[in-house]
Structure formats: structure tokens, C-alpha cells
Amino acid sequence: MSLYKLKIFAILGVAMIFAGSCKKSYFANVNNNPNVVPTVAPNLVLPSAEIALGFTQSGDFSRYASLISQQTFGASNQSKSFYIYSINAGTFENGWGDIYTSTMENIVTLRQIADGKGFNAYSGVSRILLAYCMQMVVDMWGKVPYSQAFSGNLTGGTITPKFDDDKALYDSIALLVDNGIARLNNAGSDVLVPGADDVIYGGDLAKWAKFGHAVKARLYIHQSKGTPAMASNALTEIAASFSSNADNAQYKFLGDGNTENGWYQMLKDRQKYISFTNSTMALAMSASNDPRYDVFFDPANDASGAGSGNHFGGLADYYGANDAPVEFITYDELLFMKAEAALRASSDYTNAQIYYRAAINANMTKLGVAPADITTYVAANGTLPVTSVDAAVAKVASQEFIGLFLNPEAWVLYRRTGVPALSATGPGAVPRRLIYPQSEYSLNAANVPASTLSTPAIFWDK
């Protein structure tokens, strides 16, 4: 009897230990998280990436650039500190974090999924988006991580990426656009292509290709000062890019509570931080009776912050409503670039003036200015000086600066052309670059360069 029991025990014991040794079956899939999806289709990531870009640009990036370029006025708290250049490394944490993580990481993830599945349309779109974002980041900070970035979750990746040279990055971005356009042109029809999930262009791949050329146009025009070849390159890209306001690269927020314009949210939540009508730009537009003044501003609601109709800080509906668009690159900007490029490439004053007038017209038409007002305004402001290229470019830039209202590119324009002439609003000169955020100095100290608001200069800023 007892021997029998002993046998049972022995068998049980051995079986148990044996079963335990088969750890593959014991542990298989136990640690696979059932609460989340390990991978998703590109059409579920694309809207996240696009809206993240829209929010990030209409939030931090627009705020940084517009305060420095005095399109807005920092009235109190952090905005006032920023306005008087009381800026430290901690100031840029959110913008840097949002663009690298929620925006570009999603775009890179989209590219990875699309490339893996051969969804060329998504592959192309992701590259154009990434190129646009990277250019914006380079134009703000110069040397930034790219070649080793976005790899924290990848085998062999790093959480301390090196900072790439900004000039070399421009070349990488151009290549990225070329690759993107090549894939768009080879999108195929039997694979998944973007449609309603593409909240920027609704799946119109031709427009994405134009957007790609617009990004390249910016790359070249930024480097065109004293380099006619770059201006010629820009003209080539512009010719392949937007042909009307309908092509504009922008994201129009839904204003549905989940997706509201970043400016709308900020002005509502942080009342009296920022004033619009006290900005250098608004005061100048008011003085020149610019018909766009009332499209941009609502002076009655500025100082109070009370914001009847939600015009907190005096920003009117076109750019300030909860469903206002955030503009990436627009047709009128391209026409202004075209005028500048014509001047820089071949001192072509005649055509430059034609493009310049078309640019003002496109901008005002987009903003809904009455045709009669446009005509009056162009008659008064539409003539370029022919004394020198620089003088003509300055005139173009003075109008382009208004056209780039709240677009971070306005600050780039100021740095490239010195237009409009701005007085420093704090100690030192008007900032020419941003400081790297404190987190880089803490967490990526071996790679991050030293930086101030003026040094090292962005490579094109000469």
C-alpha cells in the first residue's frame, strides 16, 4: 500500500518538475499584453501623426516664433518672460518633446509600418511629413538628432542619439522628399492608400507631391542668399508645387472638443498671457490700414481677456477659432518665394513684381478680403523697387512676413532678410535660434552642443 502511494508521489513529483522544465509552454505568451495592440494599420496612425503636427505647430512652435518675431506680444507670466528673452533651457521642453515623440515618432512608426507592407502611398506621405517637421526643427535649433533619433524602442537603437550637422541635415531632408515623391509616384492601386484618414489632403497624392516640392523650395530659398544656383533650384521646385490656394498644406481642426486649434486652447486656458493687438506687427498693420487687420485681430477683446466670442487676447476667428486651420506651407508663401528667387537667381525685377502681386492677391483672397480692397492695397503696395536685389527682396519679405502670420517660417524669413526691422524686446539682440532643452543636457549630455539664443548660428543664417 505505502509503496503504491510512494510511486504515485514519485510520479507526481517527477511530472511536476518535468512540467516546470518545459518553460516554453509555461511562460508562452504570458507577458504579451492583451490590453493593447502590438501593431496597427497605417490608416490608424496617419491621423494621429497629422493632428499631432497640427497641434504642436499651432501651440509651442507658433508661440515661440511669433513672440520672437513680434507677431504677438507677451503680456504676462511665461509669455512675458519669453517676450523679454528671459528664456532658459527648461522653456522648450514641451515643444521639443511633442515634436520628437508624439509627432515625429508617429510619423517614423507610420513609415516603418508602410515600408514593411509595401504601402507606398503611406510611405511617401510619411516622408514628406517627416521632412517638413525636420526642417522646422533644424530651422529652430540647427544641429539636432536625426540619423540615430526615434530608435529608443528598436533593437540596436539608442536613447542618447547624436546631434547631426545642420547643413548635412538639409541634404538629408531633400533626399527624404525625393524618396517620398518617388514612392507617391509608385503608389499602386491594389494596396492600402490614404483616404479620409488623411486629414490634410484626404488622400490626394498629387497634392502630397506638391507639398514635397514646397518643402524643397523652402530648403533652397533658405540657402539662396548670395547663391543664385540655390534660387534657381527653388524656382524649379516651386514650378512643381502648389498652383492655387486649394493646394495649401494645412490642417483644419475639427473644433470638436477633442481636436481644437492650439492657439484657441492656449488663449482660452491662459487668458491675458498674450496680446495680439499690441504686437509690433499689429501696430504696423493698423498704421498702414492693412485690410487684413480685421481678419487677424479683434482689438475689442484683447485687453480684457474676457473674450466675447472667444477672441481671447484679440485674435480673431480666422486663426483663432477652435476649428481654425494651422498652415504648414501655402500657395501665397510659394509665390513670395518665387518673387525672391527670381530676384536672387537673375535679378528678374519684372517677373518678381508679377509674382509678388500674385502672392499678395492669393494671400488676401485666402483670407477673404474684398476684391476691391485687394485692388486698392496692391495699387498702393504692389510695386517693387528696382534699385537693388536686396531692396526688392526686402519689400517682398515685408509682405511675406504678414502672409506668414503665426507660421514659424516668419521667424526664418526675418533671420534671412532682416525684414521687418525689429528692436530687441529684452536684453541682447533678437534671438536667432532656440536653446536646447534642459532634458538634453541632463539625459544626452555627451551629445548635445552648448547653445545660447544666438550661438551657434543656424548654418544658413549668414
Partner: protein, 1123 residues
């Protein structure tokens, strides 16, 4: 066959021979009082057979005529009697000393002689575990052992109890000890919806308030009546055999069993306890709701104004006008006493009238017994507790069954099963607009939350306008009609909920059904091998329902939340033990074992916002529904061994090892090995010391061990997130998407390289028994270093992510534990006095966190405000916040900086001659909740059935952040603001902060660096001072960091046991009556509720008080009957 027959014959004849040399002996066993000692056992020394003593104390046994009988009983010294010349013996057993020869239950339920242990272990027995009448076994442990921290978070029925052995070894992981019942690990989770906030939230319309009641940890489910003993395995050496689960120590709980061979007994316990709230924050009752008007004159502003402050006029200067048209007060409107319409002087209301006397009824009946081979025990317990907060309620019913049987001489089976059913009505606490104390303490003394009705708890007219009401209007406040159903609160119709509204309209019900138990086999094929197998499980469902009726401040349109937690865990242990004796002196044993463990949890949340029909708090009534689900799974498997070597009774060596695998770790790192070695040397066994009466026992012990913890579940991979949301720090909502993406809200990306956390510990100690163990002393010193501690670390955003779990932090703990048990009086007459002391000190240090990280938020309001943090170079869980500028900014002991700016645009024109505004000084460590030491004294005096027990607990040092006082000071409600207007010259040095935040002072109108001369400007304790300097909400936060130390008269009890001589005639085995009191008095400097308080409950972050619910003191009677 023939051979077999032969051996049978031989065996029979041998039996006959043995039989021929025996004799029958009868006897009686009594205790020192002469009462029969039923259940004592009588065994033949060195032989087989034995019997037990009957209820009348007599026994009858047949034994070899030259043998010796050993008579023993639990809790008594055993006696040996030679029977060669006697046939009727009478034995009186004396109550045992706290002998160091006792047996303790160690890891895996292995029983070991205490003298053989090479590490510290302390046992608390059943008679000490059911004294308070709260039915919470964890609470009962408080002050009963050294090295043990027990924090009962509040007096709420069903509130959680935080237990910590020695110090913290994990940063964000669980630091509470493993709870093991009869060899099976059981769940001690605190199931709260929002763990990130550790049980409370900052409130507001966007915050779910599900985590905002006092958290409950599931360890309180146990019925203390069923517990025989709790052994505290304090350090890693004691728990190394358990592996990862017990890396923070273990509470090894043994339940009561029915012994084989014992007559059936039935015991019945019944107690009634009356609870009252213990100390409360001091409130002023002299000034009315209101604030200074444009001319600086305090002006009354009633509920219609929404005024949150009580900086109004003196109540003594006010009168009620007696009009019947003030919907907020039946006494009418308040006017100045000079106003001719004034009728009766205003008297202040006492908000603490809200609290009631709580009652707890605890009943337990248990039957135990057995026959020669088997034993059983059945127990049924019921706890019914109503709180000091009206409507708060906790009902717990427990059923437990256990039994064991000797199937053969070689095979034993045993098993036990426990069923627990509880329901808990909880009330909101802390910083949320429904928090009971928040509403109560912020109410002005000129507003009566109860509306003067006789039963405000149940009468809706106290807290709402059931039929609407008309406010006739006052200058500046237009007339209006209040919609029916709106609540009636001191700020009008909401803002903060009227406490009577909260208890009626914001119900939080938590229902639990839980079963845990085990089945075990023990098989001894030969006497040197024992095989044990035990399978245990613990399964429960906790269903929480939290609703907020329409017009609740946080949810104006109402809401219903349903949260379902389903947890199950299974544990299997197989052990084989080999014992061998080499000669007379050397005993060895080897245990080999195998363990499986599996855990599954599933949480579903249904969130319904907006109620169609007010008052119908049902999910079907909600307008929009959101559902979420979360499942967690984990498995571990281990092989382990324990080799022991004992030389004489003097030297004991134990070496253990455990090889464990966990599913939460990556397959390359998921196997880890935990070794331990411990040595005990009973030096009093040396020939030269043996038999010494002064030093009757002495042992030195030392141990070293390494233990660890695995990773959180699902921490290796990076998931996509949906909904996907982020904000930029300026826009509150940001964007939320219902498609998928990588979000900055994902606190950490997966880390496929995680390793187990590792703690190496060294421990040394001495155990002494003096004067035949009349005095016993245990002293232990330990040092432990925890490395590779997992924490969510920030990483460069350019990696694409915000954070990652890293094996990064290092923590150390070192400490001393002392236990001194004495028996100053022990007389043959039965007078006995025991006096026991426990003392412990633990010093914890956060050595490092992660690269680039010197501070990590554990809990609090964040952004440098009122936080509990891990800060490098400081003890774990310090209080961190901004400060009032001192003359030396980082030195809070330096004199205050007194503003020398007469018209400072920043500091205000009122601040001249007052300390510079608080909250603008540097953020820094401002307090440390960890006590300097913990101590307790327990005295037990007994004489002829009367026993007087007294226990005093002392917590020396340890700060509490009294955010409550800060918030009510700001609003002019704290007692300390009653001195408003009193002139004073604030002590400090003159100066101010310049634009860069540096200390400067004026010298002839010119700013000079550093502070200036001592202040002599006449100022006053005015509203400006109290709002901007004198409180931690509007000013520097260090002003409300208080010493949370206390001396507490924890327990006093007087028991009368009827003498056994009487009982035996009444056929009772026991009958006693106990009067007891808990938390009778607390001596403390703390200016709030009971300093033994915790906003976050059983969580790592302790030391926060922000409108915590109060503690309770209680008085009770218990009847104990044994049949």
C-alpha cells in the same frame, strides 16, 4: 510465504512481551490555579502512544512500567514524571516563560525551533490579535513587534492599513510584505482606479474621483478570530526561500486548527465597540463668511456670493434678522448688530456636530475538535461597523473551514478554505470637491450644513433645495430662483459639496466575494524523508460602484462608474525533506522544493456621464458610456533548497538557494538565483556557561542574503495607445484622438533589457535569556543595499519617447531592532506582570535614481507643490516643495526675510514689515515623513483571572505635511487665524528678493546684496500675512510641515476570566469578559487629525494630510465563551 508467516508470529509474540511489561496509570493535570487543564497531552518519552487530558483534567494511559511520561500543553512548561513507582499522579503545569525554545513558523510554513534561527523573526500570538474590536488583523499588529511600521490610514470603516517591514527597497513597486496564510500567499492589493494618484486626485470637472475614497487593501479581509499566530519574517535571510514575492519581508499567518484527539470545543466571541472621532483640526468660530471690502473693512458675504473665505466681520458683531426668506438659513439674513432689523445674535455653528458615534458589532463562533486521527475547525464571523462619518459602513462575513486527517502512519492530509463576503459604503476624502473634510472644514462658522433639521443625515432639506427656493436678492446680488434639486452649500449651490450631500448623493459601494484556501498532503515513506505538497488559491471579485448624483460639484450632470476587479492567484509548493543524524552531535536536514505561482487580474470600468433622471444612480440612466478593460497575467516558477546543519544544540547553519523564473522579465534575464546563509551560535551551550541561572540563554546570529523583485507586468514592449492624447503645458486639454499612436502619455517605453531588482542584506543579532528567561532580549542590526531598482526614468525625447523603465536606482537601509520582554513579577499566588518593549530605527537613503534624474514624484500635486518624492541623497519619500524666502534661501533655519519694500508692486503694499511672500523661495526638501524611531511598551498584569493590559505606541519624529491647515488658513478658518489683527513685529532680517531671485536689502534706497538689519517694523497677523505667508497653499510650503510624532495610548483592556474551577462545574471551558479602549489618548504636537494618517492609504507615499478623514478612538466590551 513461510518466511512471511514466521515474521508475523515473531511480531505478535514481541507485542505480547511488550504488553506484559506495561502498567496503567491514571492522573490529573491542572494549571497553577488548580483548574483542570483540558487538552494537555500525555506522551510516553521515547516511545509510542499517548493520550490527551479530558475536560475534567484526568487521563488514563497504559505505558511500559519503567517509562517516563511527558505532560505538556501549549503555553505551559512541560513536566516529566517517572511512573515506576506510581499509578496515580497529579501534575500541575506552570505557565511557560517566553522561552526561546519555542517553535516558530518560517518561510514555506516550515516549523523551526526559534533557537536555531540565524535571523530575526518575531511571533505575535492569537491573544494579542483580536483586542481592538475593529476586525482588522493588520491593524492589530501595530506596536507589537520591532522593525514593523503599521499605519492605519483613517478611522473610516474598511479603510486600508499600510504595513512595512524594515525599510523601502523599491521606488515605485510594492514595498509591503508578502502575506502568507497557512503556507499560501494571498493577495494584499489595494484596488484603486487611479493608482497614479495613489488614491486621491486634485479634483475638478475633469478628474474621475474613483480613487478618492480611503483605499482598502485586501489584507484586512482576514478574520482575526481565525488567526493562531503571525510570524514576522523581517529580513531577506528569513524570506530568501520565498524569492521575489517576499523581498519586502513576509507576514506568515497560521490559522487556528482543531487538533486530533481533542474533545470538541465551541468558542463564542462577541464584542461591541463605540467609536468617536479622535483629534480634529482646530477651527476658528469667531469670524463670519466674507472678506475685506474695497476699503479693507471685513464684510459679511453669504452663500449667494459664492465667497470661499471667512475673513468676514466678528460674529459677535452680527445678528440674524429672523426673516423667513433666506433659503440658506432658517434664522434669516445676517446683519450688523447695529442694524435695527437684527433680532437675535448670531452664534457659530460647530461643523464637527456632523460626526456621530460609530458602532462595531463583532461576533464569531468557532467549533473545533477531532478524533484520534483527525481534527477539524469551523468558524463563522461577522463584523458590522458603522462609521463616525454618518452612513459609512462596513460589513464583513467570514466562514472558514479547516481539517486534517492522519490517513495512515505515513500519510497526512489537510486543507482549509475561507470565504469572505464584505460590503463597504465609503465616503469621499481628500482634495476633491466631494471630500467630506474639505466641504466640512471650509464651511464658514456662519453656515449650518445641517440647516437646523433634526435628522440632517436623512432629511434632504438639510443639503438640498428639493422643491427649489427663491432668493429675494440683496444689493449686488440679483434675486433668483433656485432650481429644484440643487444642493445647499455654503458657497451657494455647489463649488464644494455639502458633507450631508456627499454622504447621500455620492455613494461609493464596494462589494467583495473572496475565497482562498489550500489542500496539502504530507507523506513520510520512511522516518527520514518527508514529502509535502500544497496547492493554494486565492480568488476574489471586487465590485465597486461610485455614483455622483446630478448637481454634485464634480459632476453637475451626474455620473455612474462601475469598476469590476477580478483577481485570482494560485500557488503550488512541492518539498522533499531529508533528515539525517551523524552520531550524537550532528543533525542535518536538506529540503528540496519546487514552486509554481500564477496571477491573473482583470479590471473593467464602465463610465457613464450625464444622468437622464436625477436620483436614479444606475448605469442604464447615463447618457454617454465609456468602457475600458485591463488584464494582467504573471507566472513564476522556482526550484529551491535549504540545507541545515545543527551541531549539538549549539551551532546552527542554514544555507538556502532559490532559482526563480518570472514571466515579467525578458527571457534572457528571467532566471535569477537568490542565496542566503545564516548562522546561529547558542553560546550558552558551552560547558562553561551551561546551567548558568543568570544568563540562561544566549545566542549570536549572523546572516547574509540576496533577494530581488521582478519587473512590472507587460513592461518589455511598447504598445500603441488609444485614445491618444497629449498637451503642451499651456493648453489644458491638448488633443485627444481615437485612432492609435505613440503618445507622450505612455510614461515609459518597453524595456526588453530589464533585470530583476536586487537587494543584498547583512544582518547580525543577539538573543539573550536572563534569569531563566524572566528577561529576554533580542537585538538586531541590519544593512541592506538594493540595486538595479526599477523606476520610470525620463529619457531624451529624441529617442522618440519620454521615458523608459530602467534598472537604475540604488537604495540603502540600515537599522536596529530591539525587543525586551520582562516578567518583573511572577509569584506562586498567580500574580504576574509582564512588561515588554519594542524599539526600532531604520535609516533609508536614496543613493541614486537614474542618469539625469535626481528627484522622482511619488505622489502629490506635482509641479513642485506639496509632493512626496524620492530625492537622491535623502530618505525615501521626503516632502518637497517651495518655501518662504529666508535670509539664506536654502537654509530654512536661517531668519526669515522681512520685506523692507514699502510699496512693492510684487510683494504688495500690505507686505511691508511682513515676511516676504511665501512660495517664491527655492523648491527643496522640506520634510521627512520617516520616523526617527518607533517604540512601544506593553504591560500585562494578571492576578487570579483578572488581566489588565496597557499598550503605548511611540512614533518619534517623522513629518506630516498638514495641507489641511494650509488650505483652511488661507480661507480664514484655521484656529490660528483667530489672532487676526494682533499687532506684532515679525522676527527676521530686513530685505527682499531682486528680479533674479537673490536676497538683497535697501541701504539708503539702494539695493545691496544679502539681508539687512533685524526687523523693527510694526506689523500684524492680518489677512495678508495668513494668506500669503502663514500657510502652505498660498505661501511657502514648509510652514505646514509638522512634527507627526506621537505617543499614543493605543490600547487598554481589562479582562476577567472565570476561574477554571467554577467553569468546570458549569461545563464551560472558558468564560471571560473584557472591557477595552483603543487610541484612548494621543500626545502629539500635530495640529490636525490623528497624526497616524495617510492620504494615499496603503501606498509608498506616506506623510500627507490634505483633508484626510479623521481617526477614531473607541471603547468596547467583549464576551468570550468556550463550551
Amino acid at each position: 510465504m513461510r518466511k512471511h508467516l514466521l515474521s508475523t508470529i515473531l511480531f505478535l509474540s514481541f507485542a505480547v512481551i511488550v504488553q506484559a511489561q506495561t502498567k496503567e496509570v491514571t492522573g490529573k493535570v491542572t494549571d497553577s490555579t488548580g483548574a483542570p487543564l483540558a487538552g494537555a497531552s500525555v506522551n510516553i518519552k521515547g516511545g509510542r502512544g499517548g493520550t490527551s487530558v479530558g475536560t475534567d483534567g484526568t487521563f488514563r494511559i497504559t505505558a511500559p512500567s519503567n517509562s517516563t511520561l511527558v505532560i505538556s500543553a501549549i503555553g505551559f512548561d512541560s513536566k516529566e514524571v517517572r511512573i515506576a513507582n506510581v499509578s496515580d499522579i497529579s501534575v500541575r503545569l506552570m505557565i511557560a516563560n517566553r522561552t526561546l525554545n519555542e517553535v516558530v513558523v518560517t518561510a514555506l510554513g516550515i516549523r523551526k525551533e526559534k533557537r536555531s534561527l540565524g535571523y530575526a523573526a518575531q511571533t505575535i500570538n492569537s491573544d494579542e490579535l483580536n483586542k481592538s474590536g475593529t476586525g482588522n488583523p493588520l491593524n492589530e499588529l501595530s506596536g507589537k513587534a520591532s522593525g514593523l511600521t503599521v499605519i492605519n490610514s483613517a478611522g473610516d470603516p474598511g479603510s486600508g492599513t499600510f504595513v512595512l517591514l524594515r525599510g523601502v527597497t523599491s521606488v515605485t513597486g510594492n514595498n509591503q510584505p508578502l502575506m502568507v496564510v497557512d503556507g499560501v500567499p494571498i493577495d494584499n492589493s489595494s484596488n484603486n482606479y487611479d493608482p497614479q494618484f495613489n488614491g486621491f486626485q486634485a479634483g475638478g470637472a475633469n478628474a474621475d474621483l474613483l480613487g478618492a475614497t480611503q483605499p482598502t487593501n485586501r489584507g484586512i479581509d482576514l478574520n482575526p478570530n481565525d488567526i493562531e499566530s503571525v510570524t514576522l519574517l523581517k529580513g531577506p535571510a528569513a524570506t530568501a526561500l520565498y524569492g521575489i514575492q517576499a523581498a519586502s519581508g513576509a507576514l506568515v499567518i497560521t490559522t487556528k486548527k482543531g487538533a486530533a484527539g481533542k474533545h470538541g470545543t465551541v468558542t463564542f466571541n462577541s464584542s461591541v465597540t463605540w467609536d468617536r472621532h479622535s483629534q480634529m483640526p482646530g477651527l476658528q468660530n469667531k469670524f463670519a463668511q466674507g472678506d475685506a471690502d474695497a476699503n479693507g473693512i471685513p464684510t459679511y458675504q453669504g452663500p449667494w456670493s459664492g465667497q470661499p473665505f471667512s475673513w468676514g466681520p466678528a460674529i459677535a458683531d452680527l445678528k440674524w434678522d429672523g426673516s423667513s426668506n433666506n433659503p440658506w438659513d432658517k434664522h434669516g439674513f445676517i446683519v450688523d448688530k447695529s442694524d435695527p432689523t437684527g433680532k437675535t445674535p448670531v452664534t457659530a455653528y460647530n461643523p464637527y456636530d456632523f460626526f456621530q458615534t460609530g458602532h462595531t458589532y463583532e461576533n464569531n463562533v468557532a467549533a473545533a475538535g477531532g478524533n484520534a486521527e483527525s481534527g477539524y475547525r469551523m468558524s463563522l464571523g461577522n463584523l458590522d461597523q458603522s462609521g463616525i462619518i454618518p452612513k459609512a459602513h462596513y460589513i464583513k462575513t467570514t466562514i472558514s473551514l479547516s481539517g486534517q486527517s492522519k490517513i495512515s502512519n505515513k500519510l497526512n492530509v489537510s486543507g482549509g478554505i475561507n470565504y469572505i463576503k464584505s460590503s463597504n459604503y465609503k465616503v469621499q476624502q481628500g482634495s476633491n470637491t466631494s471630500g467630506i473634510m474639505l466641504g466640512l472644514l471650509r464651511t464658514s462658522p456662519t453656515f449650518d450644513n445641517s440647516n437646523g433639521v433634526s435628522d440632517p443625515v436623512n432629511d434632504p432639506t438639510a443639503y438640498s433645495f428639493p422643491n427649489g427656493a427663491v432668493f429675494p436678492g440683496l444689493p449686488g446680488y440679483p434675486a433668483k430662483t433656485i432650481a429644484p434639486g440643487n444642493q445647499r452649500s455654503y458657497r451657494g449651490t455647489g463649488s464644494y459639496d455639502n458633507p450631508y450631500w456627499t454622504i447621500n448623493k455620492n455613494p461609493f459601494n464596494s462589494y467583495l466575494d473572496r475565497v482562498f484556501g489550500y489542500g496539502a498532503l504530507s507523506y513520510q515513506p520512511v522516518d527520514w524523508i518527508t514529502v509535502n505538497y500544497r496547492l493554494g488559491g486565492d480568488v476574489y471579485t471586487q465590485r465597486d460602484k461610485n455614483a455622483f448624483d446630478v448637481h454634485t460639484s464634480a459632476y453637475k450632470t451626474g455620473s455612474v462608474f462601475l469598476i469590476n476587479y477580478q483577481n485570482s492567484q494560485y500557488n503550488s509548493d512541492l518539498t522533499v525533506t531529508f533528515k539525517h543524524k551523524f552520531g550524537e552531535d550532528l543533525t542535518t536536514s536538506l529540503l528540496l522544493g519546487h514552486n509554481y505561482f500564477e496571477l491573473t487580474s482583470n479590471t473593467t470600468l464602465t463610465k457613464g456621464i450625464g444622468l437622464n433622471v436625477p436620483g436614479f444612480l444606475d448605469i442604464s440612466n447615463a447618457q454617454t458610456l465609456t468602457n475600458t478593460e485591463s488584464t494582467g497575467r504573471k507566472k513564476t516558477m522556482a526550484f529551491f533548497g535549504d540545507f541545515e546543519l545543527a551541531y549539538r544544540s549549539m551551532l546552527y547553519l542554514s544555507v538556502t538557494g532559490r532559482r526563480e523564473e518570472s514571466s515579467t522579465l525578458p527571457s534572457i534575464n528571467n532566471v535569477f538565483f537568490y542565496p542566503s546563509a545564516s548562522l546561529g551560535w547558542v553560546f550558552t551551550e558551552l560547558e562553561s556557561l551551561k546551567g548558568n541561572n543568570l544568563l540562561s540563554f544566549g545566542k549570536l546570529r549572523a546572516s547574509v542574503a540576496q533577494v530581488g523583485k521582478d519587473a512590472p507586468i507587460y513592461a518589455l514592449t511598447t504598445p500603441f495607445s488609444s485614445p491618444f492624447a497629449f498637451t503642451d503645458g499651456f493648453a489644458t486639454n491638448g488633443v485627444t484622438l481615437n485612432s492609435f499612436g505613440i503618445s507622450t502619455n505612455i510614461a515609459s517605453i518597453g524595456n526588453p533589457d530589464l533585470k530583476p531588482e536586487k537587494t543584498v542584506s547583512y544582518e547580525g543579532g543577539v538573543d539573550l535569556g536572563i534569569l531563566k528567561d524572566r528577561i529576554t532580549f533580542n537585538g538586531t542590526y541590519y544593512y541592506s543595499k538594493s540595486t538595479d531598482v526599477i523606476l520610470p526614468a525620463s529619457i531624451s525625447y529624441t529617442s522618440g519617447f519620454a521615458g523608459q523603465l530602467l534598472n537604475a536606482a540604488t537604495l540603502t537601509n540600515k537599522g536596529v531592532e530591539l525587543t525586551l520582554n520582562t516578567t518583573p513579577i511572577k509569584s506562586p499566588s498567580g500574580l504576574r506582570w509582564d512588561l515588554n518593549f519594542n524599539w526600532s530605527h531604520n535609516a533609508n537613503k536614496v543613493v541614486s535614481l537614474a542618469k539625469g534624474l535626481d528627484r522622482l514624484l511619488l505622489a502629490g500635486f506635482g509641479a513642485g507643490e506639496f509632493e512626496i518624492d524620492a530625492v537622491v541623497g535623502h530618505p525615501f519619500g521626503v516632502i518637497y516643495g517651495n518655501t518662504t524666502p529666508h535670509s539664506s534661501l536654502m537654509d530654512l533655519k536661517s531668519p526669515l526675510l522681512i520685506s523692507d519694500v514699502p510699496n512693492d508692486p510684487v510683494n504688495g503694499v500690505f507686505g511691508y514689515g511682513q515676511p516676504v511672500y511665501g512660495g517664491v523661495g527655492p523648491n527643496q526638501v522640506i520634510g521627512n515623513p520617516n520616523p526617527k524611531w518607533l517604540g512601544s511598551v506593553a504591560s500585562n498584569l494578571s492576578y487570579k483571572g483578572l488581566t489588565l493590559g496597557v499598550q503605548v505606541n511611540i512614533k518619534h519624529g517623522g513629518n506630516v505635511m498638514n495641507g489641511t491647515r494650509g488650505a483652511i488658513t488661507l480661507r480664514g478658518l484655521a484656529k490660528q487665524t483667530e489672532n487676526r489683527g494682533t499687532p506684532t513685529v515679525f522676527k527676521g532680517l530686513l530685505g527682499h528678493l531682486d528680479g533674479s531671485g537673490n536676497v538683497v536689502h535697501y541701504d539708503g534706497g539702494v539695493e545691496k546684496p544679502g539681508p539687512g538689519a533685524a526687523n523693527s517694523i510694526q506689523s500684524a497677523y492680518d489677512e495678508n500675512y495668513w494668506q500669503n505667508v502663514g500657510n502652505s497653499v498660498g505661501g511657502g510650503q514648509e510652514v505646514d510641515v509638522e512634527d507627526g510624532g506621537y505617543t499614543k495610548l493605543r490600547q487598554v483592556s481589562l479582562t476577567y476570566d472565570l476561574p477554571k474551577s467554577i467553569l468546570s462545574k458549569m461545563k464551560f471551558s472558558a468564560l471571560s469578559l473584557t472591557f477595552f479602549a483603543n487610541n484612548l489618548h494621543t500626545w502629539t504636537k500635530y495640529d490636525g487629525v490623528d497624526p497616524e494618517t495617510s492620504l494615499s492609504g496603503p501606498a509608498n507615499a506616506q506623510g500627507m494630510d490634505f483633508f484626510n478623514n479623521p481617526g477614531a478612538k473607541s471603547y468596547g466590551i467583549r464576551l468570550n465563551v468556550g463550551l
